[in-house]
Symmetry: C2
Subunit: 184 residues, 2 copies
Amino acid sequence: MENRKIVGLCGSLRKGSYNAMLLKIAGDLLPEEIEFEVVSYDDIPVYNADNDMPEAAERPLSVVKFREALAKADAFIITSPEYNYSIPGGLKNAIDWASRGKDSPLMHKPVALMGATQGMWGTVRMQAAFLPVFTFLNMNPVLQPEVLVAQAKNKFDEQGNLKDEVAIGIIKKKLENLISASRV
Amino acid sequence: MENRKIVGLCGSLRKGSYNAMLLKIAGDLLPEEIEFEVVSYDDIPVYNADNDMPEAAERPLSVVKFREALAKADAFIITSPEYNYSIPGGLKNAIDWASRGKDSPLMHKPVALMGATQGMWGTVRMQAAFLPVFTFLNMNPVLQPEVLVAQAKNKFDEQGNLKDEVAIGIIKKKLENLISASRV
C-alpha cells in the first residue's frame, strides 16, 4: 500500500459541517503511509454540456483542477449530508463534471461513502441514491459496513471529535475494506 | 382554470437540448388560458448552507429571483435528461435552494416530470430518482402517463418539433392530469 493516495470529498460546504468533521476523522484514521487529500467543489459552476468537451475546447478552470485532483486518487472517501432525501445537488453536479469522457477520474475506482446527519436516519436515502451513480460510473463502492452517523449533534464534541466509539470502529472497518479494495 | 400559471424548468442548460424542445412543446400544448413561463437555473451557485437563511440574512440574488419565479406557479413541468443514472446535479442543486424554509415555492404543488434522451431508456432512472425528492417536498407528482422520449434524435426534427404522434398524445394526457391535479 505504499505511495497510495486517497482523496476525500465532502457533500456539505458549510463551515462546521458534521460531514467535514467526519471526513477529517476518516482521514486521521487512515494508516500513515497513505496520503490523504481533501478536495472541494465550492467553485464549480453548474454543468452545461456546451462548456464541456468535445463541444468546448476546454472545461472551466475549476473543473479542470478538480478533475486533476481526483485523478491522483487510488480511492475515494465521500462524506455527505442528505438533501431532500437524495444527494446534495452541488455534490452530484461535481460528480457529473468528473464523470465525463474516457479519462474520467472516477471510473473503476473504489469509493467509501459515509454520512452524518442531525436527524434520525443517518443519510440512508442519500446513500441509496448513490448506488445508481456508482453503477453507471462502474466504480467499486465499498458497501459494508454502512457508516450512518445519526443525531450528529450528540456524537461530535465542540472540537469536531467523534465521541462514539462504536461509530469509530465502524469507520475503521470501512476504511480497511476500502484499502483492501484499492489493492486489487 | 382561469389565471392559472405553470412554470417550466429544464434540467439541461445546453443549446439545442432535446429536453428544452420537449418543454417548449409541452408549453405549446397547454390550453391558452394557462400562463406558461420557463425559468432557468443557469446562474445559480452550488448550495452552501452558510449562504442560506437563517445563517445568511439573504440568499444569493439569483436564488431569490429563482424562488420568486417558482412561487408564482400553480404547478410545474420539469423536463430533464439523465446524468449518471440520476438527476442532473445542477437541477437538483436548484431544487435544493428552492426547497428550503416554510415558504418553499415547491412544497405541496403538482409537478409533471418528463424526459428525453438520446439513448434507449428514456430517462427512467432519472425519473425514479425524483420520487424520494418529491416525497420529501410533499409535492404532488403526476405519475401517469410516463413521458419517456427515448432515441430523441429520431423523434425531433431540426426545428425542434416532435414528430412522434404517440408521444404527443402521451404528453397531452400528462398535461391534462397536471391541470386536474392543480384544480384540487
